[in-house]
């Protein structure tokens, strides 16, 4: 959610019970402004909160002029002092995929993971136990990146691609209409397109190159990994990710108010097929 309109956004997204206490709210409003100034971001998003056992991570993201460029991620434990996270790499992803369970809330916490590694010594095969230590900060980076890639969403038309490549906020975006807001096809993944390149020409025929340049939600696997609800009459559409429970996207149809927030444990819901 946009840091500039944090209060309205929080109010809109509060249907899932994920709020911020008044002191957190006030400190975020203060500190994100300073983050924007110090890091020279064109826009700062309050990304959400990862619930730890001891403390919570508050996550913010800074966007550059090009909205689809890799985003800078910051975290904070007290909502005032922000530290920059390194960009996520493939290596981190594979390394942290073995860690299960909840976050601790201490960035320097180390998860220990013992791995059996086979070493060939001549003809004999030894099995050695190797203890791998994984810092929680690394895990945080990779989880945020995974969530971003999987479920960060934006309504169709809120961004537009200029012919030179960069993606900008569409100033003329006035919200989805009511009928559009109920369809998954009017929401896009807020990331570089992956599936779009693999589509056939026929599928791409109806797409508007300046608007339809991202992957649409409707082809997500498994089908039904989103819950879409109209709340407050029809004044608010709320999308909840079932794959990453805790991610809430809200949009008031007919207005520019939209955004997403993640409040959760940072664990993927692997049980989704059983639960539908």
């Amino acid at each position: 959610m946009d840091a500039d309109s944090l209060l309205l956004s929080l109010e809109l997204a509060s249907g899932s019970g994920q709020g911020l206490s008044p002191d957190r709210r006030a400190s975020l409003l203060t500190s994100l402004l300073l983050v924007k100034r110090d890091y020279r971001y064109s826009r700062v998003l309050f990304w959400g909160r990862i619930l730890g056992l001891v403390a919570d991570y508050y996550i913010a993201q800074g966007l550059s002029e090009d909205h689809l460029a890799p985003r800078k991620t910051l975290y904070s434990l007290n909502c005032m002092e922000w530290s920059l996270l390194p960009p996520a790499t493939e290596e981190m992803m594979t390394q942290t995929s073995v860690v299960k369970g909840r976050f601790m809330g201490d960035p320097s916490h180390e998860y220990e993971y013992t791995e059996l590694q086979k070493t060939n010594d001549g003809d004999k095969v030894f099995e050695e136990e190797i203890v791998i230590r994984i810092k929680e900060e690394t895990r945080l980076v990779s989880i945020i990146d995974q969530i971003d890639k999987a479920v960060a969403i934006i309504p169709r038309g809120a961004l537009f691609k200029s012919p030179f490549g960069p993606t900008h906020v569409n100033r003329t975006f006035e919200g989805l209409t009511l009928s559009e807001a109920k369809k998954l096809s009017s929401y896009f993944h807020f990331r570089e397109p992956v599936d779009l390149k693999n589509k056939t020409l026929l599928e791409k025929a109806d797409l508007d190159p300046s608007l339809d340049f991202m992957d649409s939600l409707e082809h997500d696997i498994p089908k039904g990994s989103w819950s879409i609800q109209m709340e407050r009459g029809n004044a608010l559409v709320v999308l909840r990710s079932l794959l990453w429970p805790g991610l809430t996207f809200y949009h008031a149809p007919g207005t520019k108010n939209c955004g997403y927030i993640y409040v959760g444990t940072g664990e993927k819901n692997m049980d989704l097929p059983f639960m539908l």
Partner: protein, 723 residues
């Protein structure tokens, strides 16, 4: 496309050729004498300003040209302003209108920009020309340039700067148009502008007027082309926009020109929006608003029918807003307006039902709709009827299953379903409270059925999302006995049992009632508020988990809170069951060990860990002002369950999907073991057929009894058959 476009311009050309001249002259003339017909346009205010301006330059138009203007404007002046808003105005009028705007704009600009050197503008314009991405943009820009050049042609002697400044304005329009409405307009335009640049490479001065004129007319005709979608044309749109800018004189018109353009378009469409279809689309919004209006009006509508009941009802209403405030401090909870609506909905519930105590239990998220759950306790004896009804239906179910047994002589199936464990009475155990749910505040409350142990046991084995419709079936591997309302009720029971906690000392065991219950052996299950509770330091609550206790009974693996011995019960019933019991004895131990859970009011510090994860997290709501902070308790076992305590008051709340947390992914339960076949024993195996020797030995034995010889022959035949 080609044909139609080719035809259209020709026609337009003819028209515009006739009008083109007067228009050009007219625009020139309009600056000189502001017309009374123009006075309703704002730019006429600038008329006087522009009037003296031409003094610096020789008047571009011959004086004789003014009469046609009068002629044209005479009839057109009165309808000029109103149709501008709704329908495309007549060609000449709009042209004149636009030109007038340009002029005034130009003059307004020309004054401050007079000092700026020429090349600057040119360079700027060329830069922007390059940055124009689309080819169509280029060509259109040319068209515009020509339009302006011809326009400026008339004022040539005046000021070259003006042209440039105008161009900038217009270019803004073009690029903006492309960006915002590219879909709508580009498709129609693209093939169109190609013929337009044609006149461009012809610089001959004598041919220029006519060619340029054609180009202008082409461009204008193109601009006047009505969009099939909206019925507008760009020409009018631009003129309306510029009118508006001049009307309002915004600070930085360039920056907000998109919005202006949009506003202008919106004003065109605003009337159309009022169709029947759109109203239909909004119906659900009104519907829920209507229902919620009832909530707000409720207080007034309700007369003084039964004062006593009203008093009771008011007493039973929880102070939702107060606890919502504390939960907000904790960073949990719903929006302020939603919680207030829920509060009103609870009031409605307590007003319409004989409720002794009511509590906002929480909210369970669903796929299509959510559930708002209220936990209530009825007055004594109020809920009996409904319970009986449910029993009747259950008995009927049993009867059906028994009726299926067939009366045959063949051995009947000895398998009997395990003795169903009866559900707990209302007001005890897991059925201590009654739960009402509604999808949205304002919608009707639905009472959930009481929970049976079988439902709890199965619910522990499955993990399903709620859909939001109470009557939707639950399709799961261990078949769930019931629909979503039963599953919801079972989950509510489990969550309540796991996460409802209170600060130590707030509740104490009730003396009299506790003794009664001791027969049940699971300990006392009744408690009452401790009148002498003096509160607990918030810091203590945060630092030690042993200061929090469960005040809801633990649910045993059996699915009940109080132990029920299935064997004992079966003896008491019928003789038939005795046999069954003996069967069971073969498989199961004689005595099923009684399941025991932690007793009531056990500190939560004794809760089981989930694989190195502590089951609870405590926190102070604010580290900055700890003296006024509240203690916040968060369940890690049931994500979404929270409790707060400010020393004296406490409350529990659950908002979430209604699922238990497990660090491992869900594994469906293993299929039940396949039944063993009968062991090979004397009942199964048969003796070998009698051999010849045996037969003969038998025969000799029989001969002693002097049997007839025929039978032995028969047996021989039999032997042959068997071989």
């Amino acid at each position: 496309m080609e044909d139609s476009t080719a035809l259209a311009p020709e026609k337009e050309n003819q028209e515009s050729r006739e009008e083109g001249r007067p228009w050009d002259e007219m625009t020139a003339a309009s600056t000189q004498d502001p017309q009374p017909g123009l006075s309703e346009h704002p730019e006429s205010e600038q008329g006087p300003d522009t009037g003296p301006q031409p003094g610096t330059s020789p008047p571009g138009s011959p004086p004789g040209s003014s009469p046609p203007v009068h002629d044209l404007q005479g009839p057109g002046a009165s309808p000029c302003a109103p149709p501008r808003e709704t329908s495309p105005p007549p060609l000449a009028l709009s042209g004149q209108h636009l030109a007038a705007q340009w002029r005034s704009d130009k003059t307004a600009r020309a004054i401050p920009e007079a000092g700026t050197p020429h090349p600057d503008h040119l360079q700027q314009s060329s830069d922007e020309g390059e940055s124009m991405p689309h080819q169509t943009g280029q060509s259109k820009w040319y068209a515009f340039q020509q339009l302006q050049q011809t326009d400026g042609h008339l004022y040539e002697p005046r000021d070259a700067n003006c042209n440039n400044s105008k161009q900038e304005d217009l270019r803004c329009d073009i690029s903006q148009e492309e960006n915002s409405d590219s879909k709508r307009h580009l498709g129609e335009r693209e093939p169109e502008p190609e013929p337009e640049p044609e006149p461009e490479p012809e610089p001959e001065p004598e041919a220029a007027p006519s060619m340029l004129e054609i180009a202008v007319q082409n461009a204008k005709a193109y601009l006047l082309k009505t969009s099939s979608k909206s019925g507008l044309n760009l020409y009018d749109h631009l003129s309306n926009m510029l009118t508006r800018i001049l009307d309002e004189h915004p600070e930085n018109a360039v920056d907000i020109i998109e919005n202006i353009s949009q506003d202008v378009k919106m004003s065109h469409f605003s009337k159309k929006l009022d169709t029947l279809q759109n109203e239909n689309e909004m119906l659900p919004t009104y519907e829920i608003a209507e229902k919620q209006k009832a909530l707000f009006l409720q207080g007034n509508l309700e007369g003084a029918d039964q004062e006593l009941e009203d008093e009771m009802a008011e007493y039973s209403l929880p102070n939702v807003m107060e606890s919502a405030f504390y939960f907000e401090q904790a960073g949990v909870g719903l929006g302020t307006d939603e919680i207030y609506r829920i509060c009103l909905a609870l009031k409605q519930l307590t007003d319409t039902h004989p409720i002794q105590r009511c509590r906002f239990w929480g909210k369970i998220l669903g796929l299509e709709m959510n559930y708002i759950v209220a936990e209530v306790e009825f007055h004594e004896g109020e809920d009996e009827e409904e319970v009986e009804e449910e029993d009747v239906t259950e008995e009927r179910d049993n009867g059906e299953s028994e009726g299926e047994e067939d009366e045959d002589e063949l051995p009947r199936s000895l398998y009997k379903a395990p003795q169903p464990i009866p559900k707990e009475e209302s007001r005890t155990g897991a059925n201590r409270y009654i739960y009402f749910v509604c999808n949205e505040p304002g919608r009707p409350w639905v009472k959930l059925p009481s929970v049976t142990p079988a439902q709890i046991v199965i619910a522990r084995k499955i993990k399903k999302f709620f859909t939001g419709r109470l009557d939707s079936p639950i399709i799961s591997y261990p078949p769930f006995p019931g629909n979503e309302s039963n599953y919801l009720r079972a989950q509510i029971a489990r969550i309540s049992a796991g996460t409802h906690v209170s600060p130590l000392g707030f509740y104490q065991f009730g003396e009299e009632e506790g003794e009664e219950e001791e027969e049940v052996e699971s300990g006392r299950d009744n408690f009452e508020e401790n009148p002498d509770f003096e509160g607990i330091q918030v810091v203590d609550l945060v630092e030690s988990l042993s200061n929090w206790v469960h005040h809801v009974q633990h649910i045993l693996p059996q699915g009940r809170c109080n132990w029920f011995n299935p064997i004992q019960k079966s003896e008491e019933e019928e003789e038939e069951d005795d046999e069954e019991k003996e069967e069971e004895k073969g498989e199961e131990p004689d005595y099923i060990e009684q399941e025991v859970g932690p007793p009531l009011l056990t500190p939560i510090s004794e809760d089981l860990e989930i694989q190195n994860t502590p089951p609870w997290t405590t926190r102070l709501s604010s580290n900055l002002i700890p003296q006024y902070a509240v203690a916040v308790l968060r369940s890690n076992l049931w994500p979404g369950a929270y409790a707060f305590c400010n020393g004296k008051k406490f409350e529990n709340l659950y908002i979430g999907w209604g699922h238990k947390y497990s660090p491992d992914s869900y594994a469906p339960p293993v299929p039940p073991p396949a039944c063993q076949e009968y062991p090979n024993g004397p009942e199964i195996t048969e003796a070998d057929d009698p051999s010849v020797e045996e037969e003969q030995a038998f025969r000799t034995a029989q001969e002693a009894a002097a049997l007839p010889a025929e039978e032995s022959e028969e047996t021989e035949e039999d032997e042959d058959d068997y071989d």
